[in-house]
Symmetry: C2
Amino acid sequence: MKNCIVAQSGGPTVAINASLAGVIEQAASSGQYDKIYGSLHGILGILNDDIIDLSARLSDDTFLEALQITPAMYLGSCRYKLPKAYDDADTYEKIFAYFERHDIVSFFYIGGNDSMDTVLQLSRYASEHNKNVTIMGVPKTIDNDLCLTDHTPGFGSAAKYIATTMTEIAYDTSIYPLKSVTIVEIMGRDAGWLTAAAALAQTTYGLGPDFIYLPEVPFDTEQFLSDVTEKLNTKPNVLIAISEGIRDKEGAYISASSTTTDSFGHSQLSGAGKTLEHLIAHRLGVKVRSIELNLPQRCAAHLSSMTDITESVELGRAAVSYALQGATGQMSTIKRMSDEPYHVCYQAEKIELIANAVKSVPRNYINEAGNNVTEEMIQYLQPLIVGEPNVTYKDGIPQYLPLNHLYA
Amino acid sequence: MKNCIVAQSGGPTVAINASLAGVIEQAASSGQYDKIYGSLHGILGILNDDIIDLSARLSDDTFLEALQITPAMYLGSCRYKLPKAYDDADTYEKIFAYFERHDIVSFFYIGGNDSMDTVLQLSRYASEHNKNVTIMGVPKTIDNDLCLTDHTPGFGSAAKYIATTMTEIAYDTSIYPLKSVTIVEIMGRDAGWLTAAAALAQTTYGLGPDFIYLPEVPFDTEQFLSDVTEKLNTKPNVLIAISEGIRDKEGAYISASSTTTDSFGHSQLSGAGKTLEHLIAHRLGVKVRSIELNLPQRCAAHLSSMTDITESVELGRAAVSYALQGATGQMSTIKRMSDEPYHVCYQAEKIELIANAVKSVPRNYINEAGNNVTEEMIQYLQPLIVGEPNVTYKDGIPQYLPLNHLYA
């Protein structure tokens, strides 16, 4: 008897269940596993014996298709970071004893940077202790900051949400003939990929943001005020996209420059958008509003990118295929073969080259003034948001798989 | 020669252009008008001679269909409130002289409460001065607070956005086994209709908000903390929808209780969501996040309700039909004939019964505890969000009509 187990970890995206569907589909169709288990709440399910039999779900023909477009994580998530083996050998022994007891020969972990560190630690331990279990990572993060993969699952859908929402906000803010500034704060503490996607709203038929500021370029508030002032001389409504993680040339977050104290006497940190909103209100005296896109960026499955969903499925399948060929300690990756026509292939790379490293936006993807992106960025991003999955609406609301099993 | 003119005013919605399409379609097909003019930026276009010929747009077969699903306002908006005629007769003379000069016999104003006041003032002036111009209103507001119409255009789409987004946020926040509270702040300063739409996410297949607080019931922070504490004992992730306009029993806005001072020394008002976020953080010490849905509530045309779009077109058509039958000083309205099957008809009501009045949520639509809605509310709301319009995506982004003519 040979079984496999899969888990999900980190922050949710709308494509992480597509990768889960890919893992299940390939594991089932390979005929190499008797059971496909799901560990609930990441690696915690293994430590707490909280697992479900995913193979049993396959008796429902519609399961995998519905799973592909269900947002968040079908298996739940955790914020648990695996300690190093030399700090806590017990935990490792417990995990591998669990694998042995359940005849588990492959473990697939779908997640971001922290999860890839878990893949690294577990695969090292397996190799050092001659455990016959392959440990494979499947990437996931809306931040697009994992190395050695052209882009990450979840990013394309978040980028599509941002491009669409910026388009619609641009319509909303452009109807008054009075001067106004609108600042949209987008997720991305360290990497500006997601904020850059706002540029995709700069189409011939739409209205895009006038300025885009990423964390990769030091943010200068005086230059910012001067950019905005100049633009207001040429058009009434100025729209700006900023990363939550923009920081000044000393590396201090712009958001941190505006600690406020509320009437309860509590000190609180404003977001970067709010900080700049107040700056503009008080320095330029013009009508200004800030919008934090917040969670919908990563959970708006009704607006996911078909390209992203398809690729996420394929990355799940690829991880299984590589594992069955004997690979371990690797993560499945996307290699872009061409921009036009857009074409990718799927590979796997050693996890030690990926875990704990971050891919920032290269300087040539940002314009010289540091207030917009270049054509290279547009070319890179454009194919990732193409295509709309077939979402089923019931009573006017998208229908996704229930998550009741998480709290049974 | 007989012409008509149409304008839009107030805050944008995703359905106000559908009403414009209805006005144009009916005006054109009636054969009763030579030209259909559009006044840019509300009534200001008439005052500033800034109008366009909408009849000319009809040579493009796809114009009306594309217009129906374009968000914001094709004709632009204004924040101008017409003074009373006895305060400023000049303005009225200027407007009616303009009508006479351009052979305009009908004026259609699509908007909310302020715009209906303009319809009232202009129709009174016309009647008192024997001007042969019919003045008709077409309703519009995401707030759903206009009287004598079952509901208002734009509301159903905003409600669909909120129900869908609450569903997706519920997925996102339910994946961690750790206790957390998420507060979603929804538009509606005085009426809780839009916030109530969060209840539509309480489906059998989805996960809805645990509590809903509307401005119609005085908000008691201690009762709120007690509601949340009790719920956290039964489930880990508590999701709450609140109106931006919730207020305490003295009528003071909850948002106003948390004035903060930022590091620039500027005082700022927190939103109700932020205020309650800090309250929970400091009183319950649990992980808490607040989300302000902000502009996407009223501009996310990619997620509009087909029921709303269809009805908005019909209300535009109805206003023209009534005008052609000689009606003036009226607003087209929706009368609900039955819930199941959902069926409505279109009428017109005297504007003096509508302008400057507000329709609040009736108490029996809210539960006794004041922290959720009742089945009556669900029955009322459910049909309004049904159906998805056929949005065309180009390069991954919804394609809407360009608004370049607004700033030509």
